[in-house]
C-alpha cells in the first residue's frame, strides 16, 4: 500500500552535559492515506521528538543524526528551510497539547486563521476572510462571525483546540501530526475533538493523521493502527484490534493490564513497576529488560529487532523468535 509519510531509520539526538544522547533510535514506520496511526508510550519515550523531527522543528540542542523522513516524494530531512516553510501548514500540519498557549494571545483568532491562508494560498483578504469563517464554522465554533475578532483568552481550551485545528487543516494538508491534542481537555471535549479530526481529515479529505498520545483510551477510540514506543524505540506495531486483542510485547501487555477493566483512565501507564530509563542511562540489550517479568540473560546483551509475525503484527522481543 502506498504511504504518505515514510519514516526510515530515524535517529534523533539531544546535546546535554557535553555529549549527544539518543532520544529516538532507529525508528521506521509508514503513515497511509485515510488512517490514524497512534504513537503511544510513556512521557520521555521519544514520541514527541519523532513529531518534531518530522516537522523539522527540533530545538536548537537537537539533531537528526541518521535516517530519512519522506513526505511522498519529498525528503524532509534534506529539505531547505524555505521548502520546509512552504510545506508546513500546506501539506504537513501539526497541533499541540496545550491549546491555550498555542495561539498568539495578542492577535484575534480570525487573524491567525487568515494569515495561514494568505501565507499558502495567495488569497485576497475578503476571500481569505470568507474561507476562515467557513473553517471556524466547520470545526464547530458557534457564532463564528461574531467571534472572528475575539482574542484567544476569550475562548475555552476546547474551543481553542478547535481553532488550532481549523488553522492546521486550512490548506488541506495530507498529513496532520497531533501531539497529545486532547490531554489538556475534559473527557467529553476530548471525544468531540477526536471525532472532529477523524471526520474532517480522514473521512472528508483522506489525509493521514499521526496521533501521539500516552493514553490508550484515545488510541482505542480513534486509531486504526498503533506503534508502541519504549525508551526511544518502537517495540510493537500493528492494528488496534490485534494489539488490543493479543498484545505480544511484555511492555504492551503491562500497559494494557494497567488499564482499569471497566473503563479507561488517564495516567494509568505509570503503574508499571520501575521507571522509564533517562536518556543518559539506557540499559544495554533490550531496553525494557530491567522492568520485564520475562527477562532472560540474552535480553541483557542483545537488542531484539522489530520482526513481523504471521498475523502481520510486528514485535521486538526474543520471546517470539
Amino acid at each position: 500500500m502506498m504511504s504518505l509519510l515514510s519514516v526510515r531509520h530515524l535517529t534523533t539526538e539531544f546535546y546535554s552535559g557535553g555529549r549527544w544522547l539518543e532520544a529516538v533510535s532507529d525508528v521506521s514506520f509508514d503513515l497511509r492515506p485515510g488512517e490514524i496511526l497512534g504513537l503511544v508510550g510513556e512521557s520521555g519515550c521519544g514520541k514527541s521528538t519523532i513529531a518534531y523531527s518530522v516537522m523539522r522543528l527540533l530545538a536548537r540542542n537537537a539533531r537528526i543524526s541518521a535516517g530519512e523522513v519522506w513526505l511522498e516524494d519529498v525528503n524532509l530531512t534534506e529539505a531547505s528551510e524555505d521548502a520546509l516553510q512552504d510545506l508546513r501548514g500546506r501539506r504537513l500540519s501539526m497541533i499541540f497539547q496545550d491549546p491555550m498557549t498555542a495561539l498568539d494571545s495578542l492577535f484575534t483568532v480570525g487573524h491567525q486563521v487568515v494569515e495561514t491562508l494568505q501565507e499558502h494560498l495567495e488569497l485576497e483578504p475578503p476571500a481569505a476572510r470568507e474561507r476562515a469563517l467557513a473553517l471556524l464554522r466547520q470545526v464547530g465554533i458557534p457564532a463564528a462571525e461574531e467571534r472572528f475578532g475575539a482574542y484567544p483568552y476569550q475562548f475555552s481550551g476546547g474551543m481553542s483546540q478547535r481553532i488550532a485545528l481549523a488553522i492546521a487543516i486550512s490548506c488541506h494538508p495530507q498529513v496532520l501530526i497531533a501531539d497529545e491534542p486532547t490531554t489538556a481537555l475534559d473527557v467529553t471535549i476530548q471525544a468531540q475533538i477526536l471525532h472532529l479530526i477523524r471526520r474532517l481529515l480522514v473521512e472528508e479529505q483522506g489525509a493521514g493523521v499521526l496521533l501521539i498520545t500516552h493514553d490508550l483510551g484515545v488510541v482505542a477510540q480513534v486509531c486504526d493502527r498503533v506503534a508502541v514506543m519504549y525508551a526511544g524505540k518502537i517495540v510493537e506495531f500493528g492494528t488496534v484490534d490485534s494489539i488490543f486483542g493479543e498484545p505480544l510485547h511484555p511492555y504492551t501487555q503491562a500497559l494494557l493490564n494497567s488499564l482499569p477493566s471497566q473503563g479507561i483512565q488517564r495516567g494509568a501507564l505509570e503503574n508499571i513497576r520501575g521507571r522509564v530509563p533517562s536518556l543518559d542511562d539506557r540499559p544495554a540489550g533490550c531496553r525494557f529488560h530491567p522492568r520485564c517479568p520475562h527477562a532472560a540473560a540474552i535480553c541483557r546483551e542483545e537488542a531484539p529487532p522489530l520482526l513481523q509475525r504471521a498475523n502481520g503484527q510486528e514485535v521486538a522481543c526474543v520471546l517470539y523468535d
Binding site: 491555550m100 498557549t101 494571545s105 483568552y153
Partner: protein, 316 residues
Amino acid sequence: MSAAHSWLGQLVARLRGWYAASRSAFVGGAIILVLVIMTATVSLYSPYKPEAMDFMAPLSGPTGAHLLGTDNFGRDILTRVLYGYQISLAVALGSVGFGLAAGTTLGILAGYFGGSVDNIIMRPMDVLMAFPAIVLVVALTGFVGREISVMVLAVAVVYVPIFARVMRGSTLEVVNELYVEGARARGASHLRLMLRHILPNAIAPVLIQASILMGIAILLESALSFIGLGTQPPDPSLGLMLSEGRSFMQQAPWMVMVPGLAISITVLGFNLLGNGLQDLLNPASRSAAANRSDDLGQRDEPVERASKVAQRTKEG
C-alpha cells in the same frame, strides 16, 4: 623555595577557580582592586602633588616626565586622575553606604509587615523615584552647598528608594519560606526574624545592586563636578578635569580623553562585578523569568521583571 612555589601555585589555582566561576566578576573585581590600591597609595609613589604646577610644561602631551601629559597649568594629569579617584570613591562608598543602610531597613520593614506599613514606606519611595536622579541631586547640591558631604547625602537620597525596592522584593520572596515559618513558630521576635532569618537570605540582590550603584555614583559625582555643582577647584576631580579640559580640547585632547577614560574604566569595573555577582548569586534569575503566567497577573509580571533589569543596568 618549594614552599614559596606551592604557595604561589595555590594562589594561581584559586585565581583560576574564581576566573572560571565568573569571568565578568573576576575582571571587574580585578579592575577595582588595582584602582583602589593605586589610588590609596598614590602619595607614596607619585613624584607630583596634584596641585603642583609645572610652568615649564603646560599642555604637554604624554612624555617620560608626564606619562599622560599635563593640563593648562602644567599639572600632571595622571597624578590628578589618581587623586581624583579618591574623591570619586569616597562619594561612591559614602552614598552607597548610607543608601544601603537606610534603604535595606525600609525595604525589609515594608516587605515583612506588608499592608499599611508597606504603603506608608513605599508610596513616598515611588514619589522619590519619579524624579530623574540627576535632577534631584542637582537641586540638593545646588541649594544646600557644594561640599563632598552634601554630594554624598544627595546621591544617598536617590539610592534609598532603589535599595528599598530591591530589598522589599527579595524579602517578599523569602518571607514565606519554611525556615522563616519555622523560626516564627518557635516564637522568634519580629526583630530576630528579620535580622537572623530574612536579612541573610534576602540580601544578595541588594549587594548586586550596590555594586552597580557604586559605578553610577561615580558617574553622578563626575557629572555634578562637570556642571560645577560638585567638587570645586583646585581639588582634583575627574568631572572637573573634564570640564576644564573642554576649553583646550583642540590643543590638548588628552585633557578630556584621560579623565573620561578613567571614569569609564571604573564604572565598567563595577558593572562587570555587578553582572558577575548577578550570575553567581542568582543563577536562577534568567530561567525563572521564563515562566509566564497566563492570568491577569501577566501584566504586572513583565513590568516588574523589566524594571528589575532597568534598575540593574542604569539609574539616571
